[in-house]
Symmetry: none
Subunit: 218 residues, 4 copies
Amino acid sequence: MADQRGAKRRRYAPEQRVEEVTAAAERIIAARGIEGLTHRAVAEEAGVPLGATTYHFAGKGDLIQAALRRSVERYAAYLDDWVAQRPHLTPEQLTVLLADSLMGGYAASRGQQVTEAELYVAAMRRPELRPLADQYIELGVDALCRYVDPLTARAAVMAANGLSLRAVAASEPPSRAEVEGILRRILTPNPALPDTLHLPPDATEPATRNQSRHQRQN
Amino acid sequence: MADQRGAKRRRYAPEQRVEEVTAAAERIIAARGIEGLTHRAVAEEAGVPLGATTYHFAGKGDLIQAALRRSVERYAAYLDDWVAQRPHLTPEQLTVLLADSLMGGYAASRGQQVTEAELYVAAMRRPELRPLADQYIELGVDALCRYVDPLTARAAVMAANGLSLRAVAASEPPSRAEVEGILRRILTPNPALPDTLHLPPDATEPATRNQSRHQRQN
Amino acid sequence: MADQRGAKRRRYAPEQRVEEVTAAAERIIAARGIEGLTHRAVAEEAGVPLGATTYHFAGKGDLIQAALRRSVERYAAYLDDWVAQRPHLTPEQLTVLLADSLMGGYAASRGQQVTEAELYVAAMRRPELRPLADQYIELGVDALCRYVDPLTARAAVMAANGLSLRAVAASEPPSRAEVEGILRRILTPNPALPDTLHLPPDATEPATRNQSRHQRQN
Amino acid sequence: MADQRGAKRRRYAPEQRVEEVTAAAERIIAARGIEGLTHRAVAEEAGVPLGATTYHFAGKGDLIQAALRRSVERYAAYLDDWVAQRPHLTPEQLTVLLADSLMGGYAASRGQQVTEAELYVAAMRRPELRPLADQYIELGVDALCRYVDPLTARAAVMAANGLSLRAVAASEPPSRAEVEGILRRILTPNPALPDTLHLPPDATEPATRNQSRHQRQN
DNA sequence: AATGAATGAGCATTCATTCAT
DNA sequence: TATGAATGAATGCTCATTCAT
């Protein structure tokens, strides 16, 4: 124990500590769910003393909120990057790439999808998490609006959420063919429908209108 | 005391007891989530002795499973009825009625949507619940397949799931106009896409294919 | 541990269990104060598992209340007995015996005096304990009213309370001579004062008037 | 940051800091009891950094002691003033004024009575507080000795302590009529008792005899 | 078969105290 | 000298589960 002093004494980097704990909480949520998030589990995962998890956060709720916000922020950064690298996409290209992204998630970033699902369910009981849920949805819509009309974007995001949920909750994830089929069905322009007036302008997320994307909400 | 035995016994057939407890567990999940489901809460809600909740169910997991299965079964009955009363619907009619059903849920049967969301998230950690999640999805698809092609049905169900989740998790539920718009965007036949071979026949839910709808799984 | 089974399995004597725990809580309060009363300390003192202290009492407050009520009840029984054995006493005899009783308490039943003091201070923050404090006072007054007029009785009880407090809180307990002197000063009839109308009849403890001595209050 | 040092330093003379903290601790004890006294609560109440409460006092016990000593000192000053303004009082006048003072306390300076009670109970477990308890008692006796013989003074102080305790701990404070009646019963000279040699001279508080009133004891 | 008393591991949280800065 | 970040033991309490009755 004496030889660990050097490691233990790495004190006085408060923001780093908070960051470590938040990241650990995020991993715990992805791995065991909010139900499995305990101060002890977070402390162990982060490699910090138990007290560190209660000292830096007022309560368990704050810890959950911080972890989920981190997740939203990473998702925002991921989408920004994704969109920036694909400035122009036809609906068919978008279909294929989106399906690929969703399918990739089934294996690689399952944690992201799990965390998103946990967020939605947690937000049902914890109103303070609802703005984060709003952001998760709005981020996806904003991204898709770069390629398709707003209504189609919303339809695609809702379906992508449903697919994501199914991917993590069902006995087997949907096949690539199904995902692609569903997304193509939604994203392909429909000549039978008018392009405009899809949505009344005030029908889109009034609750989060006055919040910038990464704004702290506490 | 001994002479009261006769009165105390046989008050309930065992199956009725199980039914009461299961129903109480379902209500608890809708009201407080799986997180809030405890043996004591269920016993109190059901008006049965504490022991009844542990005697008839092997553990908390079984109780959760039974409650969620009951929810699936009620959903199945609801859909059967809904479909039976509406033998023929145009896509536009389906759009309006489906939107109405979803919107009604935001107020009236919020419990159903909440329970469904709880099921999906619980199924992430409890593999034994996944067949129930499968069923929830498949029930919706089967119902919509009466009116539209299978791919469109799947697309609509995925979007409806996303909308449902948003309804219970977001700061504000989606407006009727938005819900209708999204569903119309998906359900309206798209002349630009072929009607047939939307999906390869083997891509649909292989995991639950050999399970009848109401089959017990334990 | 295996050989303790016999002892451990002495289950299903619920009232005895409650009694054991209550008695242990009383001893803890006398020995370490309410501040030192913890579920773990009580469990250890009673020789019962930790869960027994939280199972039989809704919360720490209830445990404290039960312990202090027990103390009041024992005090009531002690006074009943004391009075029954001394049907007639002159003021001088009462002075001597009361002083003896108080002095004896300084050594023998210090716990009683300590507990009484704990009760008074706890009642300042916990209104549910105030009826117990009322009873403690009223019991003493009722007992002394057998020998002297009500006002003298109240004066003597107030002074006895002060002496008792001093006995447990001061550097040194008051001497027997002082205690006797003070009590004699109060108990000896004062020819300069009228015997009657000492108190308006409604001025005496209206809060506890309608409570019998041992009544449960919860 | 370095250049702000000059501004930050010397904001307070150390003694003023100690004074602020002590005063805050006193207020906390009156408001929440010793049980509710924590370093953080005191620091917040005093408007000083948390470290100030641990830097200037060796431990929580010292902080409590300092706060209670402050209370004793204020009580001493109050009594000095009270006595100085009332050089001569008949027993009847003393009765009325003392009753008034006690009754006033039930509403106005309840904090004083609460603090005194906290002190007595704390002194049971913390021997270092006993001299303070001694002083509290002795101050009252000394004051009353200006007007009545020492034994009567002691009797009245003991009764006043009992009344004070009852005022803060019982369901209802004693009525003014009762307080006056009790004090009159005690303070009125009793022709049936000799005036002198009420107490042997060595029976009075030997433990604190050699301590001046305001002496530091640490 | 049915009950609920009993258990103890585990939980979130508080807090006096330490000590690097 | 003065601060407040950091620690971890300890607290009240919950609860799934066991099992004597």
